[in-house]
Symmetry: C2
Subunit: 472 residues, 2 copies
Amino acid sequence: MGGDHTGFLYQAVSGKIAGLIDQGVLRPGDRVPSVRRISAQEGVSVSTTLQAYTLLESRGYIEARPQSGFYVRARLAAQPPEPRGSNQARQTTRVGISSLMSRILLAASDPAVVPLGAACPAPELLPIRRISHIMAGLLRRAGNETNAYTFLPGNREFQRQIARRSLDWGGRLDPDEILATSGATEAMHLCLRAVTRPGDMVAVESPAFFGILLQLETLGLKAVEIPCHPQHGLRLDVLHDVLRKQRVSACVASPNFSNPLGSCMSDDAKRELVEMLAGHGVPLIEDDLYGDIQFDGPRPRAAKAFDRAGMVLLCSSFSKLVAPGYRVGWTAAGRFQARVQTLKMSSTMVTPSLMQMAIAEYLESGSYDRHLRRVRAAFKLQTEQMIAAVSEHFPAGTRVGRPRGGFVLWVELPSGSDALDLLDRALAKGISISPGRMFSPRQRYENYVRLSCGYPWSPRLDQAVRTLATLI
Amino acid sequence: MGGDHTGFLYQAVSGKIAGLIDQGVLRPGDRVPSVRRISAQEGVSVSTTLQAYTLLESRGYIEARPQSGFYVRARLAAQPPEPRGSNQARQTTRVGISSLMSRILLAASDPAVVPLGAACPAPELLPIRRISHIMAGLLRRAGNETNAYTFLPGNREFQRQIARRSLDWGGRLDPDEILATSGATEAMHLCLRAVTRPGDMVAVESPAFFGILLQLETLGLKAVEIPCHPQHGLRLDVLHDVLRKQRVSACVASPNFSNPLGSCMSDDAKRELVEMLAGHGVPLIEDDLYGDIQFDGPRPRAAKAFDRAGMVLLCSSFSKLVAPGYRVGWTAAGRFQARVQTLKMSSTMVTPSLMQMAIAEYLESGSYDRHLRRVRAAFKLQTEQMIAAVSEHFPAGTRVGRPRGGFVLWVELPSGSDALDLLDRALAKGISISPGRMFSPRQRYENYVRLSCGYPWSPRLDQAVRTLATLI
């Protein structure tokens, strides 16, 4: 066989499979028939089939998974464009999202509600039996230690494990730098309190995670919204402009997989961000909650990796990937460490040793790394499946995000849609969503929703997306 | 035998035993020889010996314990007078106790240091095995539930148990009123934030628990100190005067067994306090952390029992009596409930379900009530032993408190003593104490110390008191 003929053959094979995908016979997440089977079926060589699969992979139809074969990806070509952001910084004096947040979170605790609202992972994706087993062992072996008052910033072994893992994101933390907190929520809250006073202005991403906006609201802080690129995150040109024009006490950002965009800043942009802020004497409170959940390539660096001046206060937790209910997070607050520790001592004293010891033992055992590989693939697949379903069912004019990590999806509904109204009607049908207004202190993003992709795809989720589509 | 003759006999017997106590042959906590044995020994009737013991009891020498016999109490007659308070309200703008608090708390985590500083109970007084066993069972039976995100104000069973126990302190809480917190520390902090703004004035006890003063400091609040009677607590006349003259945003108090005094307000005084504050529109943040640890008589009522207007925010926890390391407390914040819940959601989200479930199961089982009887007796005895040791060893001019519950002792050193200097020298000898300055925003009480009585009496404690005496 000559080159051309082979070329024709592999294109024919790839075209056939692409057709099956386009028609929905093969759907996102489905395993593509094996190379051997297709070769036999189509009467072509294994290498020709492999060429066909490589072409399909390069066009975004399928993807290889090590030792497992090829799987259908979300059909990028057929997908709507990405949601639009804005180009201007905007500032505000008050936020008002606590009641919306209560509704979304309460719905998340109700198993009867389809969980597209809060960013909660499915229990079956969490290592619950393993961590429960570790806890039970600790209670047997070290009861006194798990129960006693300990007034240290963190359990020693927990601090050591966090420090060890800092190499993964390009850092080199010392165990003594690490303060255990009640989830990333408390870490962020303590850091905000450490570097601001009521009435101060704080630069936040737009759109931004509503939990941060609620913190600004309850702490009496004002927000200036910095627009974000859906893929590359914080618009540094706009931020620079803001820093030159007004006094900002802190910048809060998620360079890795911001919530709700799923964007990821490049290393260069992270370095520039850290240096720009340090140059203006502005601390960066970095939320790296989703940093371990990249969809492709190596684990991205944290902006903290570029921190020379101790001006980055890094925050994360194990709530999204290991134990939501244990409330174990941490912060390395750089030059603000002593202040953050005093605020912790004064407001919640310490984080339970038992929880820290359990997480430390889990990290030490190597289970976390194996678990990460599994859940990264799951969250990526689930996100692609959600993209595919929204693309298929939502009305024309819908725009859908392309997150690069995490497990939430930002969706722009056709203009004129009211996502707040949609929330009411969706909850009435037993479906929870997060309306876009929650992601902006000015309550912009009226026609946006954030959909959680934390659960394995199911007919129930598919039906929920169809129902939402009819409600829009 | 005539009445006079019997009278003479029982006085002779009681005099003999009082002599043994005065000479230190029988020491506080020792069991007095049984009625039968003394009867035989002294050749008198059982009823005569019983009369002698009753006399000794009424004079404070001994006390009866049900089904156990008679025990020596601390020798009240031989003790120094009580520490003095002040009569005037004082106000201040700044407090500065965080570094002192860090030192005391860090010392408490060091087993090599004699623990007279922080108010920590001895591990052997806590039901650690029982609660660990309950936890392990929960992890086995209800792993998913213990690990999942639950965004509810409290675990239902936990709320139910707290509501059930509210009858003990004269209340009738509804389970829905109860918010689980990270210890009483977070409960108090949330309540303070809910009813104040930075710059506001808050009325506090003088002396007051240093943790509260640190909260005022970190929240940018000012304090007006209301003097306390060592036995009867808050001086309502002074408080009334303050309320008439200036704007106060909240009053923080521990009507039951204030820390460090161990005073307890009468029911009438509690009612007057609640009504006076409500009349001025001032919320009462009530710290009832030690309310279950009365030395004598029934469990005292909380001030919340007299709350008609929803103006009392009651806070407590299980850190002193069940599980210091679990960090489980709660608040019932009356009309400020919604605000407190929003602040909780924004700052630490929720308290781990697992810990709440374990405490709930422990309360449900009835173990807590049995445990309470045991530890009340232990803390009372330990406090009396500390009073006796301080009375015996500390220099003339020392005044010693007579706490009515809890397990801390307030001691006034001879005038001119510097307790801060004493702390430095005591820590150098491996003994921790809490210097008086920590208990006042104006750093008064320079020559006072608070001694923890959380540990069973031992030669090590006795030696520590002797060492302190030489250092003063």
